[in-house]
Symmetry: C2
Subunit: 433 residues, 2 copies
């Protein structure tokens, strides 16, 4: 609903700095938009080579970040996401080569026709222009985002988490040297690391210079972007996802799907956060699934109706507090609720879900069809793990994020989603009568 908070003004010096960077990126984007596919692919391969050649410098810069992070008491999980070594950098470079191998979305004719008056119209894919990426302290995203931006003919302004500042600078310098060597403007891949928090805020209000902002991060970042951004935005990555075990479920299948959705990887947006179980199968299913979840180290959060099952199954249990069913745990925690029927399950999902990925386990065709038709989410799954919501799994070859909004892109976003279209109209003097 309407937010009437008055935000602290952005530092005018930061606004000016970011405007300068974005203006340079915009100028660079004009040339990128005209590059052929082979020129872009050569550029990406050269960037991959340069990253491998720069391993000593990047690892040294990363060591600075890690030392600072340890001093600040960064959690082990975050330090691990931040860490780069020779193997990881080589893998990142390989991912850039993979992007070079993907089809070029630019120039694709989406549709077209010849009008009655002879006018020929064609809708073709063209680059957006300048992308703004706001993300956490994950240096691999710096490379992924740059590679996807360049392949789709866009310039990119990167604003990564400050904890990765030295690593990002070393990586962007290595990429900039390649751009320069190929006669391109290094401003095509720009890094903001001078203005702290205001860097991100200035980026999301650089209207007319930045064509699209993609925030990746937690609920706080998304809220700031929604409130403050004047540049068009694609929201990504908050997933409060549910697995609903229907009365018609194969319970062995359900167990495997719940376990995989929750425990396969917990720090990702396509993990499950809540299991909903139809009341008619609760007594048969909960003992087995809670025992399995308990063995996997999962803590169950629920109301009193589930607590005795958890206790009997030997699973850690906590009473669900207010807001627990709206939480993205990013950990071995799972909300559990017994629901009287399919409608109650869908009602819970409508209230607590984030329109990311919703799963039903059932052999009942009617229940599956209703769930897919009525649940409002980017991905609605029947009888499979929530973890499949992923650009790589869907066969897109690469992914810049998972959109949870309805405009422009929904679900896994890859290269085509980083483009817009343009109508080309060709006539020989037609006027309207």
């Amino acid at each position: 609903m309407a937010d009437t908070t008055v935000a602290r003004p952005i530092d005018p010096e930061v606004i000016a700095q970011v405007a300068q960077v974005a203006t340079a990126a915009k100028a660079a984007s004009r040339k990128l938009a005209q590059l052929t596919r082979s020129a872009k692919d050569e550029l990406l391969v050269a960037i991959a080579d340069a990253l491998v050649a720069a391993i000593p410098q990047i690892v040294a810069a990363n060591a600075e970040d890690l030392a600072r992070g340890r001093d600040k008491g960064l959690a082990p999980g975050l330090l691990d996401r931040l860490m780069l070594d020779e193997g990881r950098i080589a893998a990142i470079a390989d991912a850039v080569r993979d992007v070079a191998g993907l089809p070029d979305p630019v120039g694709e004719v989406v549709r077209g026709s010849t009008l009655a008056n002879g006018l020929q119209i064609r809708q073709v894919r063209v680059p957006m222009g300048v992308l703004g990426m706001i993300y956490e302290a994950r240096p691999n995203v710096t490379v992924d985002a740059a590679a996807l931006a360049l392949k789709s003919g866009n310039a990119v302004v990167l604003r990564g988490g400050s904890a990765a500042g030295s690593s990002n600078r070393a990586i962007v310098d290595a990429m900039g040297a390649v751009l320069t060597a190929q006669g391109l403007d290094p401003a095509a891949v720009s890094l903001l690391d001078q203005g702290g928090h205001d860097d991100a805020r200035a980026l999301m209000t650089a209207r007319g210079l930045v064509d699209l902002v993609i925030p990746r991060g937690g609920a706080d970042l998304i809220a700031t972007v929604v409130r403050e951004s004047t540049v068009p935005v694609i929201e990504t990555g908050t997933g409060v996802n549910h697995v609903y075990v229907d009365v018609g479920a194969d319970l062995d299948e359900a167990l495997a799907i719940v376990l995989n959705s929750k425990t396969h990887r917990t720090s990702v947006c396509n993990a499950a956060e809540t299991m909903l179980v139809h009341a008619a199968v609760a007594a048969a299913f909960l003992p087995k699934v809670l025992a399995a979840l308990g063995s996997a180290g999962v803590t169950v959060h629920s109301g009193p109706e589930v607590a005795p099952y958890a206790e009997a199954a030997g699973a850690a249990h906590a009473m669900a507090g207010e807001g627990d069913f709206d939480k993205e745990w990013y950990s071995l925690d799972l909300g559990v609720r017994i629901v009287p029927d399919l409608d109650a399950a869908m009602e819970h999902i409508a209230r607590h879900g984030t329109m990311h990925t919703e799963v039903i386990v059932t052999r009942d065709r009617a229940a599956a069809r209703r769930f897919q038709a009525e649940v409002d989410a980017a991905v609605v799954v029947v009888n499979a793990s929530s973890r499949f919501t992923d650009g790589g799994e869907f066969g897109f070859g690469a992914e810049i994020g998972i959109s949870t909004q309805k405009l422009h892109a929904r679900g896994p976003m890859a290269l085509p989603e980083l483009t817009t279209t343009k109508w080309l109209v060709e006539g020989d003097g037609q006027v309207r009568v």
Copy 2:
């Protein structure tokens, strides 16, 4: 760039009223999303019939609006846009029947595949949910927007210009009676007319209730929406469009295209506002084109280099002031500039255009190709009038606006642009390994 203006808070009572309307619309949208195409088409035909049956009431309500408008000294052009008579209402009803005849975008399978593990994935079109329309005092838009929303399975909250308040109320009441008669919730087509300006502001911040806001109107409205909206927006309708007459132009063709682009209809966003003429053809072209424009009643706005041509041709002339080349005249006024070459023309367009429609007149293939490749606009035209940027002309059958943004929709927007997509995934127990 960053706007640090602090807006006046929205009246909390209006926020609550609008939230109530939007909540009801959201509930209504769930049922609309599941309607079959035939149910929707029957609904639209019944609405068309009801509008015709309500002609006496609508004309009477419109007479109140017109009387108020005359008292307030509304310009004749605006009064004409506001006026409804039997013929106009019949035409509006026919347009609703036309929408019933268009293909239903909902349910279209956009793409799909079977993954290596046997998972079947399909991306299908689904309704957005609730659309918010903010527009001028044009009662025909009330009907058009409702018809397009319903056909695409969406509910709509309408906020029309207050000068059309009585007409809009009569129209929405007539549509509401049909919705009720067909067992649907009349909240599916809701009108905001209680809260003045704050109605629009509350609508654009009703996040989570409204899925998409489409503002139609002048630069002020667009600026407010960009600054304040927290709901995703599609900007429409500001067109500072150029016709560039290249050195390679057929000058007779150029004359017809310039005349049609400027004078065919001046109150529309796809009219031309500026003519750019290559210096090498200025002496040959300007006398003819300015004479023709002068005869059509056009006033030429330019720098001193064009003034003598205008005088000699007998065209009204005014020296172009600051900002005149950024103005959407909506009238028989045209900016004129002589440019040294194609690059200067594209540079002028990049600085002053609004990414709507840009036209080049040339027989030079290389110039045409460069113009189409490098000009960043929704529609880039070679050798035809700017007036063809129109959903009807493009063969879409109907149009809710012309998007000048890059996200989601660009150029004329019709039914498919009022939908989003959903990925449906079907498995038989697949989990990630």
